[in-house]
């Protein structure tokens, strides 16, 4: 257990071989939040998006087809699980893997939507998510090469991780989660299916919150 004056007390640890996951007050809170929204994605049905035709009084509601709904829900749950993993992870490489899983599931949630605008945005975001694996994994690899370990437990408070690795980790998470400053990503949330689309936002914000903690800790 490490107790740095950054994220509150350590609560518990889970051991998976060399990968030791842990919960602190901070990551525990984030974990609970992710869990809450994953459960919401499982139990709640999507909304019936209302479209209005501006300039006239016409409006119509759409229903989301069942196969699309099931696929979106599956992806949202996968995204939720990846987020849970990223929140609990106590290992930098494991964290980066969870991050890229969040990236791919985020695309998955909207990939099946038949809306050209959304698909276009999802594709552009996907390109960013893919190239973001370079700084992401690169950051983890530099941590390993320069400290000999990937375990956040071993690294905590030692200030041994070079600035380059920290920058890379943050950049990588930005690419996977926030697609430059989030603005591009806002476009893909125009897709229907509220509880699932919301998961995109939940996962990327939580991911960013977690990487801030990691960068401050190591």
């Amino acid at each position: 257990m490490f107790d740095l004056p950054i994220e509150g007390a350590q609560l518990m640890a889970l051991e998976f071989g060399d990968i030791v996951d842990y919960f602190s007050v901070y990551t525990g809170t984030l974990f609970v939040f992710a869990l809450l929204f994953t459960v919401l994605a499982i139990v709640s049905l999507p909304e019936k998006p209302m479209d209005i035709v501006f300039g006239g009084d016409a409006y119509y509601t759409k229903d989301i087809p069942l196969d699309l709904l099931r696929f979106q829900r599956f992806m949202a749950i996968a995204c939720g699980l990846a987020t849970l993993g990223a929140m609990a992870s106590g290992d930098i490489f494991n964290f980066t893997l969870f991050s890229s899983m969040i990236g791919i599931t985020n695309i998955g949630i909207v990939a099946a939507v038949r809306n050209r605008h959304v698909l276009e945005a999802a594709f552009q975001y996907g390109i960013v998510a893919m190239v973001a694996t370079v700084p992401l994994f690169g950051g983890a690899a530099i941590v390993l090469a320069s400290t000999g370990t990937l375990s956040i437990w071993a690294l905590a408070g030692a200030a041994a991780v070079p600035l380059l690795a920290k920058i890379f980790l943050v950049l990588g998470v930005m690419g996977e989660g926030m697609a430059p400053f989030y603005i591009g990503k806002a476009e893909i949330t125009r897709a229907p299916g509220a509880p699932y689309v919301l998961m995109i936002h939940v996962s990327s914000l939580l991911l960013f919150l977690r990487v801030v903690e990691i960068v401050l800790t190591v």
């Binding site: 071989g17 060399d18 490489f93 494991n94 190239v131 973001a132 700084p135 920058i167």
Partner: protein, 150 residues
């Protein structure tokens, strides 16, 4: 005005990768300054003794089956059976390995060997996540593909 001009660039999703590229290049430039301070730690190596006369030779990672072959782990206490998988071959594979020279204990020829020791035992969760990523990506691709087909 400069602000609305920047806003217009930020607003277009076709500029996403462009923006990200700028960010990363800036990151590289800033990060470059920290390179001289990096000290290389290459001591995570698996202590190997390669036996050239072994039938497994090109792919042999050494060690004895079912024995505690030493593997460098961060928390050895969490993997009590560390090293057992390293030299393990199924009986049939063992037979082939003894009679031919096509088998070994590395991942390129067989499950077993140090890479699997790390993949399965000490860093098993990595592999779980990795295959989950593959699985999700596959789900996306095949869903889109089959809808296109059908």
């Amino acid at each position: 005005m400069i602000i609305s001009r920047i806003s217009r660039i930020l607003a277009g999703y076709e500029n996403l990768s462009l923006l990200y590229a700028v960010l990363v290049i800036a990151g590289i430039v800033i990060g470059f300054t920290s390179i001289p301070g990096i000290v290389y730690h290459g001591d995570d190596l698996y202590p190997k003794t390669i036996d050239r006369s072994s039938a497994l030779d090109p792919y042999d990672r050494g060690g004895e089956p079912f024995g505690n072959t030493s593997v460098a782990a961060q928390y050895p206490e969490n993997s009590p059976y560390l090293g057992y998988v390293t030299a393990y071959l199924t009986p049939f594979s063992q037979f082939l390995a003894d009679t031919t020279s096509h088998l070994g204990t590395t991942i390129v020829s067989h499950p077993g060997g140090i890479i699997d020791e790390i993949l399965y035992n000490t860093r098993g969760l990595d592999t779980v996540v990795e295959t989950s990523i593959l699985f999700t990506a596959f789900a996306i691709a095949s869903f889109l593909f089959r809808r296109r087909e059908g």
